[in-house]
């Protein structure tokens, strides 16, 4: 039959009956299925066995008609009411009379609360496994949101709670409220729409989903899988505030922040202005204290560094050195003074020694030293001179000139020399060429003074040394002179 019908065209359109028949036969080929849905509306016609049910998808704004009869309903779902979840065994059917499609059900089962909860448990596991509850996926709420999107029931206690408590904490708060059905069949689609609208609004920094308390069934939309996924997909942070503290619909697990009740929302989404002002004032005061304390402390450190003597009294750098120089100078003076004193003492001592060793003392006692005038040699033996040799005789207080009158030949003994005449007047006397003891010379004190007396005190130490050397033989000869047995005549005259 279908094959026989020619292609439709404006010239050759199909009559309605043909189209209706074709659709009906197409739909008739579909088989029996199990359908899960929510009762949006149930119509029992009085006097009719037929019952019409509008079956709705809980998550989406879609519905199908279901046709069944009272017997079927009484068997599986007695007292079926709007909003109930049902499981239907049905076959799609086309009603040519009205051109409508419906599912003809031969079995209807009402889904009980226990089963619903069991399903939620399963869904919860599934969503958890997918990571929808993962704490790492949670977004942080802004400290102070610019604008808050609120999804809640119209004129609900939840709405009032959220707006009032939030405004109390932060008066400048700004809301964009979208009122939706928060229970019933249209709740989920409306809420998903609202989330989508608010998520697209760039002024919205946080979205609040709020609903007051209700029965478990009433809160079922908040455990809807599609809603959970919408909340998860939302880029704006979402706060859930559903029912009471004890209620835990699945959307609570997906939301970025869960407020236990609508009243609790305010604390989660806005800071407490008074508290913040207090904290800021406190922080400011602490900051002042810290910073000025820091500056004061640093000033103190700097002062203590600068007051150290090396910096505070830099003249110390020079003064210490000046003191060093002064003390060194003083020491040098002391040391030099000591040296001078020592040298003085040395000189005095040496002079004393010199004086002690000088032949002068011997000469003072009356001895004399005889020199050959020609060469200044000391005459120790008579052989050293010949008659007529000029002599020079050194006395204690000066020299006299003399000449040898008689060369010595009588005395073989060494030391016995020629006779020396010191004086023309004493020329006949045997002369002693060596010094004679002083006491002996005293005897000749009365004799005339030498005419050629000359003062010849040694003028310098060198002369003294030399005189020192000549004094020895003088001492030796002193003893030999008496042995000669000659008359004691002094050859050397003293002025005394």
């Amino acid at each position: 039959m279908t094959e026989e019908t020619p292609r439709s065209s404006p010239e050759n359109p199909w009559p309605v009956r043909v189209v209706s028949q074709k659709i009906g036969s197409w739909i008739a080929r579909l088989g029996w299925i199990w359908v899960d849905g929510q009762v949006a509306q149930i119509t029992r016609r009085p006097g009719s066995n037929v019952v019409f049910i509008t079956l709705r998808d809980p998550s989406a704004d879609l519905s199908l008609s279901v046709t069944t009869n009272r017997d079927v309903l009484d068997l599986g779902a007695p007292a079926l009411a709007d909003g109930a979840r049902i499981l239907v065994h049905a076959k799609p059917e086309f009603y040519p009379a009205r051109g409508s499609l419906s599912l003809r059900a031969d079995e209807v089962r009402q889904v009980g609360l226990g089963e619903l909860l069991a399903r939620l448990e399963q869904l919860k596991k599934l969503l958890a496994a997918e990571g929808l509850f993962d704490p790492r996926r949670k977004r942080r709420l802004p400290f102070l949101p610019g604008r808050i999107g609120l999804i809640t029931g119209r004129a609900s206690a939840a709405e009032r709670d959220v707006l009032m408590n939030t405004g109390r904490r932060w008066p400048a708060v700004d809301f964009r409220v979208i009122n939706v059905a928060v229970q019933g069949t249209s709740a989920v689609p409306q809420m998903i729409d609202a989330i989508s609208v608010l998520d697209r609004d760039p002024t919205i920094d946080v979205i609040v989903l709020a609903r007051g308390g209700g029965s478990t069934e009433d809160l079922l939309p908040f455990s809807d899988e599609a809603l959970c996924r919408a909340v998860f997909a939302c880029t704006t942070p979402v706060v859930s505030a559903i029912g009471h503290e004890t209620d835990a619909p699945l959307v609570d697990y997906v939301a970025d922040v869960r407020a236990s009740t609508p009243t609790d929302v305010a604390k989660r989404i806005v800071p407490d202005l008074a508290e913040e002002i207090r904290v800021i004032a406190q922080a400011r005061a602490r900051m002042w204290r810290t910073v000025s304390g820091l500056v004061d402390r640093e000033q103190h450190r700097l002062d203590s560094l600068c007051s150290r003597p090396v910096l505070a009294r830099p003249e110390v750098i020079v003064d210490t050195r000046a003191a060093e120089v002064g003390s060194l100078t003083a020491r040098a003076e002391v040391v030099f003074g000591h040296r001078l004193d020592g040298a003085d003492r040395d000189i005095a001592h040496t002079t004393a020694r010199l004086r002690a060793l000088s032949p002068q003392a011997t000469l003072d006692r009356g001895y004399a030293i005889v020199h050959r005038a020609a060469d200044g040699q000391i005459v120790r033996t008579p052989d050293a001179v010949a008659a007529g040799d000029a002599l020079r005789i050194r006395l204690a207080a000066g020299d006299v000139a003399a000449s040898v009158t008689e060369p010595a030949a009588r005395e073989p003994a060494p030391g016995a020399g020629k006779t020396v005449a010191t004086d023309p007047a004493a020329a006949s006397e045997p002369a002693v060429n060596e010094a004679v003891p002083a006491d002996t010379s005293e005897t000749g004190a009365g004799e005339p003074a030498p005419s050629e007396a000359a003062v010849a005190i040694p003028a310098d130490p060198i002369a003294g040394e030399r005189s020192d050397a000549t004094a020895e033989p003088a001492g030796t000869t002193t003893e030999t002179t008496p042995a000669n047995g000659r008359p004691r005549r002094s050859a050397a005259r003293s002025k005394r």
Binding site: V291, V295, Q299, L305, V310, L311
Partner: protein, 70 residues
């Protein structure tokens, strides 16, 4: 100071070093004087920093007082 000014911490650290070296002694007169001059310079830098910090604090305090008053 011709070169870029030292930070407060740098200046204070160097100042402390200078003082220690001066106190330790053993430096020549010329070195000592150079160290002392450096020390004075560093102390001046430190003081400038602290004065600047204090001025800024005072200004902020005045501004705040003005705001609170107005």
């Amino acid at each position: 100071m011709a070169k870029t000014e030292l930070s407060y911490e740098e200046a204070r650290g160097e100042l402390a070093t200078v003082v220690e070296r001066l106190e330790a002694g053993g430096t020549s007169l010329e070195e000592s004087l150079a160290l002392w001059e450096r020390g004075e310079e560093l102390a001046a830098v430190c003081q400038r920093w602290l004065d600047g910090a204090r001025t800024r604090l005072d200004q902020a305090r005045e501004r705040r007082a003005a705001e609170a008053g107005g």
